[in-house]
Amino acid sequence: MNYLNETIDSLNKKLASGEISAEQLTEDTIANIKETDKKLNAWITVDEDVKPAENLDFAKNKLAGIPIAIKDNIITDGVKTTAASHILDNFIPMYDATVVSKLKAAQATLVGKTNMDEFAMGSSTEHSYFGATHNPWNLDKVPGGSSGGSAAAVASGQIVAALGSDTGGSIRQPASFNGIFGIKPTYGRVSRWGLIAFGSSLDQIGVMTKRVKDSAEVMNVISGADDHDSTVSTREVPDFTKFLGQDVKGLKVAVPEEYMSDAVDAEVREVVQAQIDMLEANGAIINKVSLPHTKYVVPTYYIIASSEASSNLQRFDGIRYGYRAKDTKNLLDIYVKSRSEGFGEEVKRRIMLGSFALSAGSYDKFFRQAAKVRTLICNDFDKVFAENDVIVGPVTTTTAFGIGTEISDPIKMYNNDILTISANLAGIPAASVPAGLANGMPVGFQIMAKRFDEGSIFRVADFIERENKFYEKTPAGMED
């Protein structure tokens, strides 16, 4: 089963009419993944024993019997969950993440776990203990990251929808690189219970699908208050599909000058500008604005995310679960060797940066200062949103880069995130919707909105999708 021309609606119809059984769909899906993943390496675990839920109710549950992929940093009861790390490569959880419980309650079939950068640290899915994932548009290129496995699986038609997580762009950047839709909801829209923490004040689970409406359907299922997560909002969750099918007349669209500077490749800017022009031609009001603290978002983000990560990742110590080094002399040895052997290079770099930023003598200068600059970055957004409905621009400065070309230069990698991390620092929702191709590779169009206004994102993304019909294009790398 290949999903390139399927949507949740089309599958729901086929299942409801009996054209295909849920068992058959699951079986075909897994068979196709096993075949095509030889090229992509998008999956860490495929749950070959998975069965569709019983008493499927296709009228009530849109997702009933439909296979869905889960990023491997989201906890699944009884199914190995590794965060793409050697330190967890044998870890079998004994509980479900809230998003997983909700998908199960909606009768979706969870067929497996997708590849990613280790602990979601990275933007290429090269930093995986299980090997790099390849971009279905060009197998020599990265799929982006950290949710690169989820993105490649959706773009290649292995699956119709996948969950990802986004701490600094980890849903939007791979969505952009793979020509699919990906949304990072507002911080506090979706429960983080069961998401293996990276930067706790930034992490948010989101959805990646080929079509905008499919993300709205999945968002309807996974959003909302949760007793397990005290940072989730208790606000009512709207039906996100009701924002679809609208026009953009009178919509106030802000374009930050910092997002369309020379730092962004000319080809990327061109594709993005074409979409802005299209919105304007359809009645949107385009306002040029400034987010003056954009130049500080990279250091601010890397200090805050790494500080939180350095603490979050301390629990991986070889004592209660996960990898324990052999031939250790004493307790300290277990800690140091298990962690040094269990973590990859990039994870160690971030732990070191975070421990440094929080250590005596550095706290005020680094962590506290970053927390203050974060306030200024939030203020920038508040100002723009006081007069605009959405902020738009590119997701990335380039299209997907070649595997192995940037991994050795951490600063260059970090700077690639400049256009996505602000949304995490400010906690606002943001998405990438396909805009077009540049040199044969997809370019994403970023839409950001006010906190808890995912609705506006769906409205604009759906409009763009209907206009440019990017979904009709097939990734070149998947043609035999």
Binding site: I74, I75, T81, A83, L88, F91, P93, M94, Y95, A97, R192, W193, G194, L195, I196, A197, G199, S200, S201, D227, H228, D229, S230, T231, S307, E308, S310, S311, Q314, R315, F316, D317, I319, R320, Y321, L331, Y335, S355, L358, S359, A360, Y363, F367
Partner: protein, 476 residues
Amino acid sequence: MNFKSTIGLEVHFELKTKSKIFSPSPVTYGAKPNTATNVIDWGMPGVLPMVNKDVYRLGIMVALATHAHILPTTHFDRKNYYYPDNPKAYQITQFFQPLARDGYVEIEVHGKKKRIGIHEMHIEEDAGKNTHGTNGYSYVDLNRQGVPLLEVVSEPDMEDPDEAYAYLEKLRKIVQFTGASDVKMEEGSMRVDTNISIRPAGQKELGTKVEMKNLNSFEHVRLSLAYEEKRQQQVLLSGGQIQLSTRRFDEASGKTVLERVKEGASDYRYFPEPDIAPDHISQEWIDEIAKTLPKSAAERYDDYVNKFGLKPYDANVLLQTKESSDFFDGAVAAGADPQLAANWMNTQVNGYLNDHRVALADVKLTPEHLAEMIKLIKDGTISSKIAKKVFAETIENGTDPKKFVEEKGMVQLSDLSVLEPMVKEIVDNNPQSVEDFKNGKDRAIGFLVGQIMKQTRGKANPVVVNKLLNQELASR
């Protein structure tokens, strides 16, 4: 040379909740290892803390009872360190915005009153437990992981070990009477760390402090501080220097022993806990809790002595625990005579508890039982001798005293319509005794009482009988 001591105390109280501070696992003692735990206590990947409301409520009670200022916004922070009993390798505590600040406790030492400041108090999670084996291994049990603690940090206001002792006694009593903690050092629900430094009299800046952890009793606190004062004086007098260090009190020798020298401040990399939203403590909630705050021991003492007229000694015995004071108050509220209730509490009840090594909460006697029994004694229904039998039955089996007395026919005969004719008859039948009585022989009454007791098989109320006999004899 004269020296001055500066002492500060950090006291941890386990707060009395049913479930843990950040997880709904039960708080239990003596459960099998790792059976009172869940994924949160284990620090499994992906888990988040869920704050227990009662931990705040109990903490606020202690803050109110120590006149501390409760912060309108508190927030949890992470204290990072590795240890096998600390599963996340960070402890969730309150470092930057604690629950409350600037409280005080009043003590009296050698007849001098003094206020000891409380710098701050905060809530945090306890760690699990390591048991050290003899085979080169340690064994970790996470049942205690996440038990709620309240840490009360004093100002360095104490100047000698006696003041420290008095502060601990007072603080324990205050916390005990809020009901927030069991305050039992032997069970670890109260734990004391001390800091002491000395300096030559006249010197302004404080000396280097030495810390002592996990002291087993208040007496050990006093002894160890006294030992440290002397030791540090000798070091300074012999030209030495005090090291910033942690020492341990050795019970056997009564000395303190160096555990380790601290090189600079520990680097716990504290930062705000991002997994828990801020906690705004409303004045309404504080007011609501204040209304439920039980009377303090001092207020109760005042009631007992000035309102009920109890002897200070009796009042203090009742106030040894909140349980016994609550029990006494309950009996008085149920109508018991305070002095009689106090006598019974401090002799019979305590005697029973000591003999049987049980707690008040574990016996079947209720305050209502005690009140009823005292009423039966007071209105003459039973004699105090019978009362002891009734007490034994009630505390053992929870039998209702009134019912028991009635069923067993133990009711004292006080009915005048029965006793009056009987007295007349006995007096009539014993003219010799009337003579003797008139001649001033008091023994005559004893003889007549004995006759009546004989006739009633001991059930006649001796007080009533005496009164009637006196009246009858006087009328002849």
